[in-house]
């Protein structure tokens, strides 16, 4: 399963209480879709699942605003 699918599945099943599917470019943060507790769960999930260390300087909106953004950030850390 590729990075985006892994993320979408985690967010859909574990973070959001909703049947409506989320798209990979959907804004996860600005409209309170995911709250502050779940954001940390998401950050931890990304770090553990893709085995990358996420420094505080990287915990910024640009890197976590959408599944696409997270995927790009993970790819940049892996290369």
């Amino acid at each position: 399963m590729d990075i985006k699918d892994t993320l979408i599945q985690f967010i859909q099943n574990d973070l959001i209480d909703d049947d409506q599917p989320i798209s990979s470019n959907e804004d996860l943060l600005t409209t309170g879709l995911i709250d502050s507790v779940r954001v940390m769960q998401l950050v931890n999930f990304v770090g553990e699942t893709f085995t990358i260390e996420i420094a505080p300087e990287d915990m910024i909106i640009d890197n976590f605003i959408s599944v696409d953004a997270i995927s790009a950030y993970v790819a940049s850390k892996k290369s």
Partner: protein, 518 residues
């Protein structure tokens, strides 16, 4: 003469129409734009039958539309009621029913949450801010911009302007009623206290259902400054929030301590330039002195203030820290500000002597009118004082215990309901918790009092979670060395983990309710 909150927008629109009033992310309103849009929103609201005095709900996350919703509702002569979109559905329904709300202002991103609420709620007549095929009319913003601007109805400063719901430690939430008068008193006092100018950039962190938002949303327009509304994304990611303060060159920042502590802990502040920040103001909770000191040492050119006040009075005291905290004792809540007076009363409602601890009562221009639809709670919370002239003056019982020191500084000592009388003895619940937590096998504990028995006496109850469970008799033996016998909880309830509120605090209310039903 300004006597209504929305008059500030109209006046600034004439004075400086191109000056930015509010900005959130990449979206912004100048004063000219906001004045025009709020009048169009008035037309749309009036078209939906909104009349003077009606309560209109605002169901929005942190976004630019919050400013438009607030001022549009005020300009229509109605009362704005902010609703936290993350509340459980039944709590949202309670607010809608309690306030008799028929119209909500919202946003397409809230569609998921609104759908369930709309389906079960007959009281709602329309929603402005999104377009859906639902059972009630929905009016998108594009449709609102088709309206011609409408005039405001005749209103008085003593008319209701907004209702903020507070949860409190017991019972259902209470709707704190504020008027244009109390809102403008606050705007005037804060503008004076921190010398706010049109050139100021106010950093707003709080959602509009917390009264900390009134600095950015009311005082900003009062002086003609620009208010930066932090988005939910910024609030959740402290690194981004710290960058926002630098980027926007915020001159006045106002938030709860937690936001600043998170920024401090991210370790990213030393690389940022906060030199534009001339005042950093915090409120809502005490700021742990060690962390406040660490923060202040990183921003030596920024003055720091502690602001204190319950939602019922907005703000009532201030303390400008002369230096970073020198010791680890709590920062004082400071001095009463203008247009405010206080009483410090003992348990018999007699005035304490100087230096003695007592409950703080406040009378001020910024105080609430009462609790919406709740005359009993309103009466309980007010105290009628016979003034020298013979007139009765109404004071608000804050429920906070304070002490006035020999320098005239007020110190916050705790909540009155955290100090209870059991079996004739006075007990500080926080001290009991601290004592219990010293046992290495205890993970978390919350101590509270419930009434018990026919004589309605109070018994101490402890909700406890363990690192490694210990039989209660053994814990009590341990506690007898630290606490008087009457301060040791009588009832003990085990939890794998103590339940938390959305704010991350221990949900003491739930714990009490569970204990009552046992």
């Amino acid at each position: 003469m300004t006597y209504l909150l929305h008059q500030n927008i109209l006046q600034q629109a004439e004075r400086a129409p191109h000056h930015v009033a509010f900005r959130c992310g990449r979206e912004q309103y100048t004063y000219g734009e906001l004045a025009h849009k709020m009048q169009q929103l008035t037309a749309a609201l009036q078209d939906q039958g909104v009349e003077r005095g009606d309560r209109v709900g605002i169901f929005l996350h942190r976004c630019i539309e919050t400013a438009l919703a607030i001022y549009g509702i005020l300009h229509t002569g109605a009362v704005y009621v902010p609703i936290d979109p993350s509340l459980p559905e039944e709590r949202v329904r309670f607010l809608i029913q309690d306030c008799d709300i028929q119209i909500l202002i919202s946003h397409p991103s809230q569609a998921r949450r609104l759908r369930g609420i709309v389906e079960g709620e007959e009281k709602l007549l329309a929603i402005i801010g999104l377009e859906k095929n639902w059972t009630i009319p929905t009016i998108g913003w594009e449709a609102v911009w088709q309206y011609l601007p409408a005039a405001a109805p005749r209103q008085l400063e003593t008319d209701l302007a907004y209702i903020l719901y507070t949860s409190g430690s017991t019972g259902l939430p209470k709707g704190v009623m504020h008027t244009h008068y109390s809102g403008l008193c606050y705007a005037r006092l804060t503008a004076q206290l921190w010398e706010l100018q049109p050139t100021d950039i106010i950093g707003n962190h709080a959602p509009i259902f917390f009264d900390i938002s009134t600095l950015g949303y009311f005082t900003g327009p009062f002086v003609g400054a620009t208010t930066i509304i932090s988005s939910d994304a910024h609030v959740m990611l402290p690194t981004s929030l710290a960058k926002l303060i630098e980027q926007e060159e915020v001159t006045i920042w106002y938030s709860v301590p937690l936001a600043l502590i998170q920024i401090l802990q991210s370790g990213t502040l030393p690389q940022l330039d906060w030199s534009a920040l001339r005042w950093l103001i915090y409120a809502g909770e005490p700021f742990p002195p060690g962390q406040l000191r660490a923060l202040m040492e990183l921003i030596p050119n920024t003055r720091v203030s502690n602001a204190y006040g319950p939602t019922e009075t907005n703000q009532c005291t201030y303390y400008h820290l002369p230096t970073p905290p020198l010791e680890d004792t709590p920062v004082p809540i400071g001095y009463l500000w203008d247009n405010t007076e206080m009483l410090i009363l003992n348990d018999e409602d007699g005035q304490v002597s100087t230096g003695e601890m007592g409950e703080l009562l406040i009378r001020s221009g910024t105080m609430m009118k009462g609790y919406w639809n709740n005359p009993e709670r309103t009466q309980q919370s007010f105290y009628q004082h016979n003034s020298a002239s013979g007139l009765r003056h109404t004071f608000y019982r804050t429920g906070d215990l304070v002490q006035l020191d020999e320098h005239g500084l007020l110190h916050l000592l705790g909540r009155k309901d955290r100090q209870i009388k059991t079996r004739g003895y006075r007990v500080e619940l926080d001290e009991v918790e601290v004592a219990i937590l010293t046992h290495p096998q205890v993970k978390e504990v919350a101590v509270f009092a419930n009434v018990s028995g026919k004589d309605e006496s109070k018994v101490l109850v402890a909700a406890i979670s363990w690192e490694a469970e210990l039989p209660i008799p053994e814990l009590k033996t341990f506690l007898r060395k630290k606490l008087p016998v009457y301060a040791i909880p009588v009832e003990w309830i085990n939890y794998p983990e103590l339940p938390r509120t959305p704010n991350g605090k221990i949900d003491r209310k739930l714990l009490r309710e569970v204990a009552l039903y046992k």
